[in-house]
């Protein structure tokens, strides 16, 4: 019964969002059926496009899986952007330092560096929350800005591509060596190793959360810190762990954004969205849409990934600005979040009828 309510609500939210999206397409003077067809074609029309969708979904999935960990432990992590950047910066620096390492060794090393970079960026607000009661929503958001400025500083100074120094001074790193590129899975397509890495990561997150004592403690702390503490579980340690792990997964997304890109370098436009594509924020939506379940986050990330790739085609075929995708994204957020209230209401209703049955 409960599972049913959990699935119906986000699908209803998506449906409503698409309905409003259709109205917007009409308002722009196009046919919504054509629009939907164009979006579908853009996202899934060719093998290449499916690959592109999967690649767009990857950072969303990683951030989303991380978000499920944090939210399950009742910690709100809005710091995905900063954690992606921290992971990207550390892994890129490492790769730049050891350029001649063979791919088989280099890839695991940079993955580890990304996990550590993002993990540290998550651990900071975790420690602040656990031991100094600093609100993690504020600290994670602020650390996003710190990460952006750190990236701007490094890419304009210490890490800048030497070629740029005397010339246009574009804030970007040197192009990484080819053995740093994530291997492609299908020859000629953009589908790279990052996609299966993200899926495996989501499955591991599921196993950790629901099948290990560690995940058990995280969830106990998330649901009822008082009872967890009385049972001998350290609330502080688990808050730090949840945010670190959540950050580590975002850091891994940063690795995949750099090492899976065609340019093979980290570039900044002064903000974060240019590099992350706002995956740090959209990952939250992905996780919420997936009902904060790591496995449901997989299809959820593909839906949002297809929205992004589909919007490109929409623009090309119907001259509808791809901002529509952003609007659709926003609408889904709006409906999912407000439907949390609907879901809460449904849950209490179901709980109550269950209770009545038990008392009977």
């Amino acid at each position: 019964m409960k599972r049913l309510a959990g699935g119906v609500v986000p699908l209803g939210a998506a449906f409503l969002a698409f309905l409003l999206g259709a109205l917007m397409i009409i308002a722009l003077g196009a046919s919504p059926a054509d629009g939907l067809a164009a979006m579908f074609d853009g996202a899934f029309g060719t093998t290449d496009r499916i690959a592109a969708t999967a690649v767009r979904a990857t950072p969303l999935l990683l951030v989303g899986a991380g978000i499920t960990i944090a939210f399950r432990a009742s910690v709100i992590n809005i710091g995905g952007e900063g954690q992606i950047i921290a992971g990207a910066l550390l892994s890129t620096s490492v790769a730049l330092a050891i350029p001649d390492t063979p791919r088989i060794a280099l890839i695991p090393i940079v993955v580890l560096a990304g996990l550590i970079g993002g993990g540290i960026w998550g651990a900071i607000p975790g420690v602040l929350k656990a031991y100094a009661s600093v609100n993690e929503i504020l600290s994670t958001v602020m650390l996003n800005i710190v990460a952006i400025q750190l990236m701007n500083f490094l890419l304009r100074g210490p890490l800048i591509d030497p070629i740029e120094v005397g010339t246009s001074r574009i804030p970007q790193t040197q192009r990484l060596t080819d053995n740093a590129a994530l291997p492609t899975l299908v020859e000629g397509s953009r589908l790279h190793l990052g996609v299966p890495i993200a899926i495996v990561a989501a499955i591991i997150v599921y196993l950790i959360l629901f099948r290990t004592p560690f995940g058990f403690r995280l969830r106990a702390v998330g649901h009822n810190p008082d009872a967890a503490r009385a049972a001998g579980i350290s609330v502080e340690k688990n808050i730090v762990s949840a945010l670190s792990l959540s950050g580590a997964l975002s850091g891994l997304a940063g690795v995949i954004l750099v090492f899976g890109s065609e340019s093979l370098r980290l570039v900044t436009d002064g903000g974060s969205a240019g590099f992350t594509g706002s995956a740090g924020f959209n990952g939250i939506v992905t996780a919420l849409f997936g009902g904060l379940h790591p496995l449901w986050t997989i299809p959820s990330s593909f839906l949002f990934g297809s929205l992004l790739t589909g919007a490109t085609e929409l623009q090309r075929e119907l001259q509808i600005p791809n901002a529509l995708a952003i609007a659709l994204n926003g609408l889904i957020v709006l409906f999912v979040v407000s439907s949390d209230r609907v879901r809460g209401w449904l849950d209490t209703r179901l709980d109550r009828s269950m209770k009545a049955r038990v008392e009977e």
């Binding site: 290990t212 009872a227 009385a230 001998g232 350290s234 709980d351």
Partner: protein, 502 residues
């Protein structure tokens, strides 16, 4: 006795989806009498009173007041029919004065402006009449719980209530305050007020009532008077089978001191001294009861022993291990089990499944793992054994714990804690809000642990529970242990006096 009852409820039936809350219940109250409604949680007392107060509509049946059919469809119309209700949880605005609270919701003679002087005058009149002794100009937050309750009674009397419903009024009072309340209620019945008294404290019911009606599963199972019955009989009417109010306690030799508290001082949440220089030993094979009105430092003391709160002075030891300001995990590792006072806050994770809550303290045990992952087959077997052994009534092992009844959640917590083979058990209010059957079971389990040589410290506000279970009784007042008495030499009166600081 052919006079017309003040209130008569005839054949009231009320169903909720899947639950028959009131099943053909008839009940009446005469002017000048106290008629008690007795029953366990979920027996239908509250539903019946909510129907009387217009919060629910009955499916069938009728309510007559002074012989005439009364259609009560809201609390306002109940008040118009001169029915007053004192809720268990007070409905007062703490920042307003007594007079302002009483005037709240009433039309004023001065239109938009409240005529507080007139209200105050009338309050004084009522207080003098019944000896309620309340200053109309004082803010509610400055009042004690007992005084707040009197304000609730004044509120009802101010609205000319002739019939007063008191829902568990003694739950929050000290024994002395209970005596005072009963004097007030007696004065009111002498003046012709009818009173419906709801309680499950059997000795109070026997002391105050003129008549007693017992409800079980929504239906009336009997009516009696204090002269014709006793605690045992009332309990059996409530439960519907034979019950043991006090468990048989076999003689057990008192062993060495297991839990040792020395000069423990603890600050409360507001920074004031909550526990003041408490020293106490609990020996193997004994139950030490801490009696006291809640708010006298028992909670802080319990939390300090459990590792949830730091002591500012003194020491806590279990056997030879110093556990002063140790973490909960360290205290548990020393053989400590904890049944907390607030079971849904500190004892169980409501959203967790039954089997998960049973695993809360030993989820790290390697026997429940296969490699790095949980071995769910073993966990299910373990949970099933505990559920069976402690007769926790649950539809399935993966039912969300919050949907269980209070008694079953408490049994679940007991199962988990006792299964850890403790040497010291701290049980705070182990049967509060729990039905008689579950309470009986929980008591028998504690006695069994005592026979097995466990040292048990039990905090309880329920004197019957203390007197029935404890071997020694420590009374706590204002953060101090004012006296420690052997059970044989303890009387209810002496304990009551000590609990009030006398």
């Amino acid at each position: 006795m052919e006079r017309t009852p003040l209130l008569s409820m005839h054949n009231i039936t009320k169903t909720f989806p899947g639950v028959l809350a009131n099943d053909d219940v008839s009940f009446d109250v005469h002017s000048g009498e106290v008629h008690t409604l007795l029953g366990e949680n979920g027996a239908g007392k509250s539903t019946l009173m909510k129907i009387l107060f217009g919060l629910y509509q009955p499916d069938s049946g009728e309510i007559r007041l002074r012989g005439e059919i009364a259609a009560i469809d809201s609390p306002t119309s109940a008040i118009e029919h001169r029915v007053g209700m004192v809720h268990q949880h007070f409905m007062l605005v703490p920042t307003l004065t007594v007079a302002e609270n009483v005037a709240l919701g009433l039309p004023s003679a001065r239109g938009f402006r409240t005529d507080l002087d007139a209200v105050s005058e009338r309050i004084l009149e009522i207080s003098n009449q019944y000896g309620l002794a309340v200053d109309p100009g004082i803010e509610i937050w400055k009042l004690s719980v007992g005084e707040r309750q009197r304000v609730e009674i004044i509120k009802a009397l101010y609205r000319d209530a002739e019939l007063l419903v008191l829902d568990e009024p003694t739950a929050v009072l000290t024994p002395q305050e209970v005596d005072d309340l009963f004097v007030i209620l007696r004065q009111m019945t002498n003046d012709g007020t009818g009173i419906i008294f709801i309680s499950h404290k059997l000795h109070e019911v026997l002391e105050l009532s003129d008549r007693i009606t017992v409800l079980r599963n929504g239906a009336v199972t009997g009516s009696t008077t204090p002269a014709e019955s006793d605690r045992q009989q009332l309990a059996e009417m409530m439960v519907g089978r034979e019950v043991k109010l006090a468990p048989d306690k076999p003689a057990v030799d008192r062993g060495p001191a297991r839990l040792q508290l020395r000069n423990v001082s603890v600050k409360g949440d507001r920074g004031t001294v909550a526990v003041d220089d408490v020293s106490l030993d609990v020996h193997a094979g004994e139950i030490v009861g801490i009696a006291g009105v809640s708010g006298n430092g028992q909670r802080e003391l319990a939390e300090t022993i459990a590792g949830l709160r730091n002591a500012q002075g003194g020491s806590v030891r279990i056997d030879s291990t110093d556990l002063t300001n140790a973490s909960p995990a360290e205290v548990r590792a020393a053989g400590f089990a904890y049944v907390p006072e607030e079971r849904m806050k500190d004892g169980a994770v409501g959203e967790f499944e039954v089997s998960e809550n049973l695993l809360l303290i030993n989820h790290g045990d390697p026997q429940f793992r296969k490699g790095p992952l949980f071995d769910f087959a073993k966990i299910r077997a373990h949970s099933q054994r505990l559920v069976d052994q402690f007769s926790v009534k649950t539809p399935t092992l993966d039912t969300p714990t919050s949907t269980l009844s209070g008694g079953n959640i408490q049994k679940l917590i007991m199962a988990r804690e006792l299964d850890s083979s403790p040497t010291v058990i701290l049980a705070a209010q182990p049967t509060r809000g729990v039905d008689i059957g579950a309470a009986e079971y929980i008591h028998s389990q504690l006695v069994q642990q005592r026979s097995d040589g466990v040292a048990i410290l039990m905090v309880s506000e329920d004197l019957d529970e203390i007197l029935g279970l404890a071997d020694r009784i420590a009374v706590m007042f204002d953060g101090k242990i004012v006296t420690v008495i052997e059970r044989e030499s303890a009387t209810r009166e002496a304990l009551g006096l000590a609990m009030a600081g006398g």
